[in-house]
Symmetry: C2
Subunit: 423 residues, 2 copies
């Protein structure tokens, strides 16, 4: 089955918003095993939109449109799509009730223009919208399908996930099963080498690697007659990946982030954590705190940006700063020591580096970053050289700090409890 | 003049990367006053790509392609685009020299396959690439223009800005001048109301508002026969916007961010700053530290996530926490007081809120956030209610904290130095 996507909106043509809906729908279609050869962006213009829909229907089985379902005169997607299918728009009582309830919930009266949103092409399936006013539409004619979704991602995503995917799965003869294996602390080329057979292999199961900052994700996909058969095929491949990448693999769950894996590891082992950040300036703390439930292990964090702050807050010695400079292994070690001694945390992560654009020298160039982690007093400090602008260098530093934290906790327990780390 | 963009790459069709090139090029074309009605994404497939280029050339004057200029067999954009124009590919000595120098600079020998990148359509203009191996191409035939750009944004953006824009400006009979006015601390609807004449007005100068988290940006654009004439037209409009929005306007420079405006204000007035963050967990510090040169005013920051950290680090009283709860005006006031008394900073910003998904109650729902700022001891604490997920609530909190900091500094100086704040 072939699908293609059309995004309707002048704001996309003007570059006012990034088309994240395109990325989301592309990923979801790929997971369903539905091929997609084109994506089109077009403005709120009837003639041009109609041309795009007709072209798309001539070369694909399914056309998914997003945007242009609002209540104003500019919103013409539904009218145009219905016209292409030769379908009449009729008022739909349940849509009208949904709309009235939506406005009542906000203590507002429904504006007259919103009644337009309750007009539905005759014979179409309504996709209810719990997060906005525009209902979605699923309509079929002569073996072709048009799916109309609202533009705002907070409305489009749940509607697609909860209502469209089940409908598309029914259209598919085969079942696609896909698992995301996430690894960290290993380079993309190293992963590619270790898994070369699996990645290039043209077997039933495909393994596609994606490089992320500090991480490599592997999408493992197969299609089969039933979910059970697909899972049976995928299982040994996941096992092989795990055996080849070892504990670099931190999850096989799509929605587990690296910071969540780190926080889970700390929580499972009852380890409190503190952050002592210079160039990352609070970003490590911020990423850890993005994990709900972090409060049982994260109590406090410190941004020691100036030399004085490094001395006063975590007791870095003036002598060390003078002799080695703030961006040095020695200073990061003292930041770690101060973090555990003064701040009484089991795990301390500390970072000092030169994020640029100024401040670099030949000996200590922009991008030089020292990252350290101590677990119950055992310290590790590593030297890194990152590239890119200030933002990119800081982002890379945060990712590597999380990787190092995970590695240090795993190794500490590997040595000190005969490998009995709780994961 | 009408342009359209085509993005070539299977990774876009699979959703592996977000199409930020589309956004960038759309913005730049709009700034140049070049209309754009379509954007297309297509895979690395010769037949389909050729069809897309032909369709685009039939309805637009300029077709900009990005991606597919690499050295592998999969990269077919240049070959296909040249074929459509009936142009032969010939080896280009200066391109070859650039490539050899690029690899020599990395102490690497150039792989054989990269010679393909030095093949240039006969009669085309080469766009040199200082950031990668693929040269860009600018070629014209029968009044139509094709522009080929590399896919990686770090290569595409400087090439477009430095080499393509001057070429496109030559094609334009008129000059477009565009200024971005950025305002904060005012809602989009308030801006729309105050500027309704300018926004709906169909005069020579257009004013288009864009809502950002905590901010409203206004793009003011006009076209004229010369740059001087355009600027003469724009000037009174900018003046009118400033007079209607007052000091909510923080810059008229495209590349000045809100955090930069705040840091500049602190630097100009010699005010040191510290952060005392609970639910934002280091994000305010991180945004301030994203501004190069912040070190003269930002020395240290604190993430006081637990109640104990609030007590130990900034001296919030146990009694206050027990009586009012951590998310309260009273606690934020004590965080501010502790920030200035213990941490000796002129300006303190403090945040405590419920970012969710858990922890909300009927009285204190998820999204309730108190943000405070003190300037030389004068405190302001405000109550906010944000919506969205944990990430969104934290992002909104950070934006509003920056807005509040700016407001408090301006007001402090307004009262205490007869309005002589340095901006």
């Amino acid at each position: 089955m072939i699908a293609e996507t059309i995004f309707v909106g002048t704001e996309l043509l003007l570059g006012n918003i990034v088309n994240t809906n395109a990325t989301y729908l592309a990923q979801e279609l790929a997971k369903l095993g539905i091929s997609s050869y084109y994506q089109t962006v077009v403005g709120d213009n009837k003639e041009r939109l109609k041309g795009c829909i007709e072209t798309a229907l001539s070369r694909s089985d399914i056309v998914i449109l997003s945007g242009g379902l609002g209540p104003t005169q500019d919103d013409i997607t539904k009218e145009t799509a219905a016209e292409v299918f030769g379908m009449e728009l009729l008022p739909d009582e349940s849509c009208k009730a949904d709309l009235l309830a939506y406005f009542a919930g906000k203590n507002m009266q429904m504006p007259e223009c919103n009644y337009k949103q309750a007009m539905i092409p005759k014979g179409a399936t309504v996709l209810r919208n719990a997060n906005g006013t525009a209902p979605g539409i699923y309509m079929e004619k002569d073996g072709k399908i048009q799916i109309l979704l609202p533009g705002p991602p907070v409305e489009l995503r749940p509607m697609f996930a909860e209502q469209v995917i089940p409908l598309l799965k029914k259209e598919q003869k085969e079942v696609i099963v896909s698992v995301m294996v996430k690894a960290c602390g290993i380079s993309e080329s190293d992963v590619a080498q270790r898994l070369s057979d699996l990645i290039t292999g043209c077997g039933d199961v495909t393994v596609a690697p994606y490089a992320k900052t500090g991480e490599v994700h592997l999408r493992v996909t197969t299609r089969a007659g039933s979910e059970k058969d697909a899972e049976k095929r995928i299982k040994p491949v996941i096992k092989e990946i795990k055996s080849k990448l070892g504990d670099c693999v931190y999850t096989t769950h799509e929605d587990v982030t690296l910071e969540k894996a780190v926080v889970d590891l700390l929580v499972a082992n009852d380890l409190t954590v503190t952050t002592v950040e210079s160039c990352t300036g609070g970003l490590i703390a911020a990423r850890l705190i993005n994990v709900p439930g972090v409060s049982s292990v994260f109590k406090d964090g410190y941004v020691t940006y100036s030399n004085r702050a490094k001395r006063k807050i975590v007791g870095v010695k003036r002598h060390t700063l003078d002799k080695y400079g703030a961006v040095s292994e020695q200073v990061v070690k003292e930041m770690l020591a101060g973090g555990s001694a003064y701040r009484k945390a089991d795990v301390v992560v500390a970072v000092s580096g030169i994020a640029g654009p100024d401040g670099g020298t030949e000996e200590k160039p922009v991008g030089l970053v020292y990252i350290g982690c101590s677990v119950c007093g055992e310290m590790t400090v590593k030297k890194y050289r990152f590239f890119g602008n200030r933002e990119k260098i800081r982002e890379s530093s945060v990712a590597q700090a999380l990787v190092l934290m995970r590695r240090c906790v795993l190794e500490y327990y590997g040595k000190n409890t005969f490998g009995k780390v709780k994961k």
